[in-house]
């Protein structure tokens, strides 16, 4: 009987009526937004947004635009995975964009070739030391170590001092950006090895997408099926209760922020590799884009609710909106303004959803 029992006594319960998962609502929003752009495209531009209206591709889709959307979203999406679990745990991480900048600079300087066109690498940082043409594991490890260190500091500050996450990670945001600028005194760092370049360009340019999707699946499973995931939701839901239930809340928070830092570092590796260069300004505002993706995807800023699946759909919505504006030839200024409005709108929606849910159930 335990297979069929859903509860014990009380009000009648109809198990066939499943609760409508919020991810479906978010997906509905994605479809709706695409439809809006299709309609606008047909009426204003005389062409389709996502479909192949001019017979340029083999499939019925506008493959080029789809590729750009998915690719654009993937790198920030990797960050958003880390940010999602931070927000579910009741925190916030404003430092990820700056971690991207600092990590890209530092990792890239360990990934450079010795010679370009027979001349010594003009951008070589460690030429004198002879740290060139290193195996790709070196910059990857160095990069991940940067993310680990930054995330660890965030986590330790938040867990063991009373500094709120907003302030602690804001400090890291400013500091890490400073490190990124100081590292090469503002000079870009270029000419990576072939192997390093493959991190962001492998699989015929689909590598960032492969990494993003792989990590998204991994973290969706971790959050749903492991103790780590359960405790993340529990802490975001009611930190005091989590503590009283014997969850090592402080240790868990350190782990959550460290993982977020390492994911930001991974995004930095992919981004610098894909661009074949690192600049101190890399990743500016990525932290907000990542938070926006999570919030649009239904992750509650008050903690305890949301999922990676939601964030992935949120990321697609984000990408579709940006790409849609480019498609409609909207000025970049307007794009940023609307982006801001979308973020605020998503938070308002979250508040509204919480109240609405309480009324409905």
């Amino acid at each position: 009987m335990s297979d069929t029992a859903h509860g014990v006594g009380g009000l009648p319960f109809d198990a066939s009526k499943r609760v409508w998962p919020n991810e479906l609502n978010v997906f509905g929003a994605l479809v709706l937004i695409v439809v809006v752009f299709e309609v606008l495209g047909a009426s204003l531009m005389g062409q389709s947004f996502l479909f192949d209206s001019q017979g340029r591709f083999d499939t019925i889709f506008n493959e080029q635009r789809l590729y750009i959307i998915v690719l654009q979203v993937s790198i920030v999406g990797i960050i958003a995975i880390g940010v999602t679990q931070v927000i579910i745990a009741g925190g916030i991480d404003l430092s990820s964009g700056s971690i991207v900048g600092a990590t890209a600079m530092i990792a890239m300087s360990f990934a450079q070739v010795a010679e370009v066109n027979g001349q010594p690498n003009p951008k070589g940082v460690f030429i004198e030391q002879g740290w060139v043409d290193l195996p790709v594991v070196v910059p990857v490890m160095v990069g991940l170590a940067c993310g680990l260190a930054a995330g660890l500091i965030n986590g330790l500050l938040i867990a063991y001092t009373r500094i709120p996450p907003f302030i602690a990670t804001l400090g890291m945001m400013v500091t890490a950006r400073g490190i990124a600028k100081w590292w090469s005194k503002g000079q870009p760092i270029s000419f990576p090895t072939q192997e390093y370049a493959a991190i962001g360009n492998g699989f015929g340019g689909w590598m960032p997408v492969v990494i993003f999707v792989g990590l998204a699946i991994l973290f969706q499973l971790i959050l749903k099926f492991t103790v780590y995931g359960k405790h993340t939701y529990a802490i975001g839901s009611n930190e005091e209760a989590a503590r009283m239930s014997g969850i090592k809340v402080n240790r868990h928070k350190v782990l959550v922020y460290t993982i977020a830092g390492m994911l930001a570092a991974l995004a930095a590796l992919v981004l610098s590799s894909k661009n074949l260069t690192a600049q101190a300004g890399m990743g500016v505002m990525y932290e907000l884009d990542a938070i926006a993706m999570a919030v649009i995807g239904g992750v509650s800023l008050s903690g305890g609710r949301g999922s990676i699946v939601g964030t992935v759909i949120g990321a697609l919505i984000f990408g579709v909106i940006i790409s849609g504006f480019t498609f409609l030839r909207l000025d970049a200024y307007y794009q940023e303004m609307v982006k801001g409005a979308v973020i605020v709108g998503a938070v308002v929606l979250d508040q509204w959803r919480q109240r609405y849910q309480a009324l409905r159930t």
Binding site: S2, A5, G7, V8, G9, F13, M244, S245, K248, G304
Partner: protein
Amino acid sequence: MSDIILETRNLTKHYGGVRALQGANFVLRRGEHVAVMGDNGAGKSTFVRQITGVERPTSGEIVFDGEPVQFAGPIEAREAGIETVFQTLALADDLDVPDNLFLGREMKLFNLGPFSILDYKGMREATLRGLQKTAVKIPNIRNTIRNMSGGQRQCVAIARTATFHSKLTIMDEPTAALGVQETAQVENIIRNFKEQGESLILVSHNMRQVFDLVDRIVVFRRGRIVANLNKPETDGQDVVAYITGAKTGAEYEDAA
């Protein structure tokens, strides 16, 4: 094996200037059921938080099961054999019933440290058994705590302690929000504990309940223990006199 399961000596807790608990000397024998009574803010929950490792006492000693203990956290107290229903219930609102029952002690399919795989099925079945034991009415255990009535939440918290065996159970106002039937049910659970010889500390404001269930009544007033009354030697009026301060136990005169 000593006859005494729990003893506190001079247990004291100050929150800054607030002296929430002062010099509490308390003894609980094996299998004994004791009620802790006292007005709001008398220090009952504070007392519970000190012996369950939720907070560190300012001073004083705790001896549990013959050993002096200093629990570093609630999980240590629980592993030592103390199960607690906290007044604040300590439930995670966004999780469902099995998640909450097993919070901090999840059943695992594979042990991979923090990334151990959860045994959802095992926890669900154990939850249904646990709830049946308490005869709690919850139509769907997959529902989140947020969407439950106050009484149902309380029942979940009580089921959590009843599902696991322990040497000492502590309940801080377990029936405060419960209906008639549910209260009776919780009282049955407590009687069950008595039959099985499990020790219990019951914090309650309900005089009838206390006289129905326990062997002894300890009264707190303004952070101090002011009376230690065997049930046969006292009555409701007497207890009220101690709670309000009209009377103080002879052995506690100097303290009060």
